[in-house]
């Protein structure tokens, strides 16, 4: 993977970018940090924040026209009074708590710098260069400093501030000396001209460079009102000019001056949903008291966009900001040994791939897409834990091979529709697929059947090559039956089709069923057979985001079946199943599922079997919409085991072949299928958690019995193991006549080198 691929995902992310107030400030002062400190009543430290960026805080806070306030999002987004940043700055700058920091006097550098003009711009420049340890001499034709601000009513305060700032410096002031020509300053290495609005430009304004304040004479720089800047702009500009001059002195080239501000155009507002309203604080006196200042400053929202992080449990848990995630994913892709430096593996494989982050982002930043890329990249490089998705890949392969089926319309007519129930619908309950297909045929006789899988397990596993091959096969199969409209039952299948097979026209099962009932072509079961309860909260699966017609059809069906619907919105969030994170992060999987279950006291009604299974497994009463409309009694039914789902899928295929095609279905039998095993509930629960189907347990016993391998203790207990492609499965059992009593099942991912001993 090229790092650019990862960075492209977050290039529009505004997280971590300077807030609009900071971008608007000519000095790019860290206003957020300033307000945070002031908001805690820490006036002295807030003043230090000003001293970091502003050469003369008292003067600047008095004279600046505060573009920061115009950009304050309290005003621009929430239409409140902006935070009184300028008044807060004046309060802090003029406070007794604003103390000069003691600095160490380092030895001066040999280069001498001349500054012509002792107004605020010249003084700012002199201060910057003196802090860089150059020997600075300031000339002014007047006999005092201040330039154009001398006439200001607050000049005494400015004068005091100049004195305070220069008290600890070596800057030499030569007042009353008018410089007629910069050439007279030949003893100086470099010269800075800031002669003010009506001052002389010595013929150097022609050819002036705005970026670094350069002139056609290489060692002469200029800025300030003479160059058409405002006083504040000129003062702010001196920081850049000082860097440029330093660079010129050291290297003979100004262009090495470090660029500190790359995103001056940043003006993107952050969304502030649910932000409480605040009241602007008016000071009792001219400036704020400490308490007033704290109250006003604490109105600051510390603007930074974290919308995706706020709603996503994963991003909240791992705390990494989107730009950081991109860096880590890129680094992960560059480190080509097993020890990656990024440590993002767990987060990558814990993402539900639900799309919530992209949905809430105004800038279309898709962190889920970034994790998808990361998984693919890790699989391509061979450095990924195969156990995370090993079982799911197997389940997908079984769904398209043993349980897979493609048949045109059974009446021999042109296949106009093709029902694609998805790999798990019939697995969870064969009736879901069989009853649906039956209903669809009564609506449209020209409906074929396509049992298989959309391929999403391979996409989630990062198995890019397998996924692409699967999509190509699906395309060919669809073409083979005459390119019909595909009827989907699972919103995730729909998302996969829409994204990777956009040529396939799609319609949802639920819309057709609802329409069929509307037109009285289908009828609902008798009211007394409809499963209890009668009031539900509809849980829209994450993949149904944006599918308003689908959502409406499900609600309409529920309404027709006489159910009441509670006020609830799943907001496009995942039940926990998405991305197949169960093995990569079992605790987090449970955390998400439990969080969803607690969002409403009402039982869930959903139209995704995965959501349903996850909720039921986490103790929440949940029904599938097909239970309600077909009147299926599933009350108190636990989700089927992995083995049962596999059998159900085969049963669906058998039923369809026999019913509609009068074709027999020869089920593939394994020699261990006939073994009689007894599995206690707690062992079965371990197996389900580890995604070990009963067939694997039987096979483990069978191959070891066959070869008489494994270990036996004095109590007749046997322990044996089977190494699969992605785990080693261990089974402890006792044989009682022809029944195998399973005592323990566990697994590990590491490979044991047994040939070496």
């Amino acid at each position: 993977m090229k790092r650019e691929e990862a960075f492209a995902f977050t290039q529009n992310c505004i997280n971590g970018e300077p807030a609009t107030c900071i971008a608007a400030c000519p000095f790019h002062m860290d206003i957020k940090a300033f307000l945070k400190k002031a908001g805690k009543g820490r006036i002295g430290t807030a003043a230090q924040e000003m001293n970091k960026s502003l050469p003369f805080p008292v003067l600047i806070s008095a004279l600046c026209d505060a573009p920061c306030q115009k950009a304050c999002q309290r005003s621009t987004v929430l239409e409140e009074e902006p935070i009184a940043i300028r008044l807060l700055e004046q309060t802090c700058a003029n406070s007794k708590e604003n103390k000069e920091r003691k600095t160490y006097r380092l030895e001066a550098l040999p280069q001498k710098i001349a500054v012509v003009g002792a107004g605020p711009v010249g003084l700012s420049f002199a201060l910057h260069m003196s802090r860089k340890r150059f020997s600075v001499t300031v000339f002014d034709k007047e006999d005092r400093w201040g330039g154009s601000v001398c006439a200001h009513p607050d000049f005494p305060a400015f004068d005091m501030e100049f004195q305070k700032k220069f008290a600890d410096t070596d800057v030499v002031f030569r007042f009353g000396e008018e410089i007629a020509d910069p050439e007279s300053l030949s003893e100086y290495e470099a010269i800075f001209l800031a002669t003010g609005k009506s001052g002389s430009d010595f013929g150097l304004l022609d050819g002036w460079g705005r970026q670094f304040g350069t002139t056609k004479t290489p060692n002469v720089f200029l800025s300030g009102e003479m160059a058409g800047l405002s006083l504040i702009e000129g003062m702010a500009h001196t920081l850049e000019v000082a860097k440029a001059m330093e660079s010129w002195i050291q290297t003979g080239d100004v262009s090495h001056a470090a660029v500190t501000w790359e995103k001056t155009e940043c003006s993107r507002d952050v969304p502030h949903p649910d932000e409480p309203k605040t009241e602007h604080v008016t000071p009792a006196g001219k400036l704020y008291t400490k308490e007033e200042a704290a109250k006003e400053a604490s109105r600051c929202m510390q603007c930074d966009c974290e919308e995706c992080m706020k709603g996503c449990e994963l991003l909240t848990k791992y705390k990494k900001k989107p730009p950081r995630i991109a860096i880590d994913v890129a680094q992960d892709g560059m480190v080509r040994n097993s020890v990656s430096s990024a440590c993002i593996t767990r987060q990558t494989w814990s993402c539900n791939q639900c799309g919530y982050c992209a949905n809430v982002c105004d800038e279309n930043v898709d962190i889920g897409g970034l994790f998808e890329l990361s998984r693919k990249d890790r699989v391509e490089s061979g450095l990924y834990p195969p156990a995370f998705h090993g079982y799911w890949m197997r389940e997908m392969n079984e769904a398209v091979s043993e349980s897979g089926l493609l048949k045109p319309a059974p009446n021999g007519g042109d296949t106009q529709y093709l029902f694609f129930p998805g790999c798990r619908l019939g697995g969870v309950n064969p009736d879901y697929t069989l009853r649906s297909y039956d209903a669809l045929l009564s609506l449209h006789q020209e409906t074929g059947i396509w049992l298989g899988c959309c391929g999403i397990p391979a996409l989630w596993a990062g198995e890019g090559a397998a996924f692409e091959a699967h999509i190509e096969t699906m395309k060919q199969e669809w073409e083979q039956v005459g390119k019909p409209v595909v009827i989907y039952a699972c919103a995730s299948c729909r998302r996969t089709f829409a994204r990777f097979l956009p040529e396939i026209p799609l319609v949802s099962l639920y819309e057709l069923l609802d329409q069929g009932m509307q037109e009285k072509k289908l009828s609902l079961p008798d009211a007394d057979t409809v499963s209890e309860p009668k009031a539900f909260a509809v849980f829209d699966p994450c993949a149904a985001t944006g599918m308003d017609e689908l959502k409406a059809a499900v609600r309409s069906l529920a309404g027709k079946a006489g159910t009441e619907l509670a006020d609830y919105d799943s907001k496009g969030k995942c039940c926990g199943y998405g991305g197949h994170i169960q093995l990569a992060n079992p605790a987090f999987f449970d955390e998400i599922a439990d969080a969803r279950c607690k969002e409403t006291p009402a039982p869930f009604l959903t139209y995704c079997v995965n959501c349903m299974e996850v909720f039921v497994a986490h103790g929440k009463e949940t029904r599938h919409i097909l239970d309600v409309i077909f009147g299926l009694d599933v009350s108190g039914k636990a989700p089927g085991t992995l083995e049962e789902k596999k059998e159900n899928n085969r049963m669906v295929k058998k039923e369809i072949l026999e019913t509609y095609w009068k074709e027999p279905f020869e089920e593939k039998k394994d020699p261990w299928d006939i073994m009689k095993v007894e599995v206690p509930d707690e062992v079965m629960s371990d197996m389900e958690r580890l995604l070990i189907p009963l067939g694997d347990v039987k096979k483990t016993i069978w191959i070891n019995e066959d070869a008489c391998e494994g270990f036996e203790n004095q109590f007749g207990e046997i322990l044996c193991r089977m190494v699969t492609d992605y785990i080693t499965c261990w089974v402890k059992y006792r044989k009682n006549e022809d029944v195998y009593q399973v005592l323990e099942v566990y697994a590990h991912r590491m490979f044991i080198r047994e040939e070496e001993h």
């Binding site: 040994n337 097993s338 020890v339 990656s340 440590c343 593996t345 767990r346 450095l383 834990p385 070891n704 070869a707 008489c708 391998e709 494994g710 270990f711 036996e712 203790n713 004095q714 109590f715 207990e717 046997i718 322990l719 193991r721 080693t728 261990w730 402890k732 323990e744 566990y746 697994a747 590990h748 991912r749 590491m750 490979f751 044991i752 080198r753 047994e754 040939e755 070496e756 001993h757």
Partner: protein, 63 residues
């Protein structure tokens, strides 16, 4: 409770503590575990597989 004594079913021998090398994600490390002195088959009890082994696996996965 009487101490369990495990024997290799194939060789009929009692197990002894020996060095075992584990591989995972192109890293490897070794640990002393009971194994058959004759055929080398390794015995891995549940508490180890669900305890320390899971911790090590998780650490290696996160690297």
């Amino acid at each position: 409770m009487e101490k369990e004594i495990w024997k290799c079913r194939k060789c009929g021998t009692e197990l002894t503590e020996q060095n075992v090398v584990f591989d995972y994600l192109s890293l490897n490390f070794s640990e002393k575990l009971p194994r058959c002195p004759k055929c080398g088959r390794v015995f891995l009890p549940k508490d180890l597989a669900t305890g320390k082994m899971v911790q090590v696996e998780e650490q290696l996965e996160e690297k």
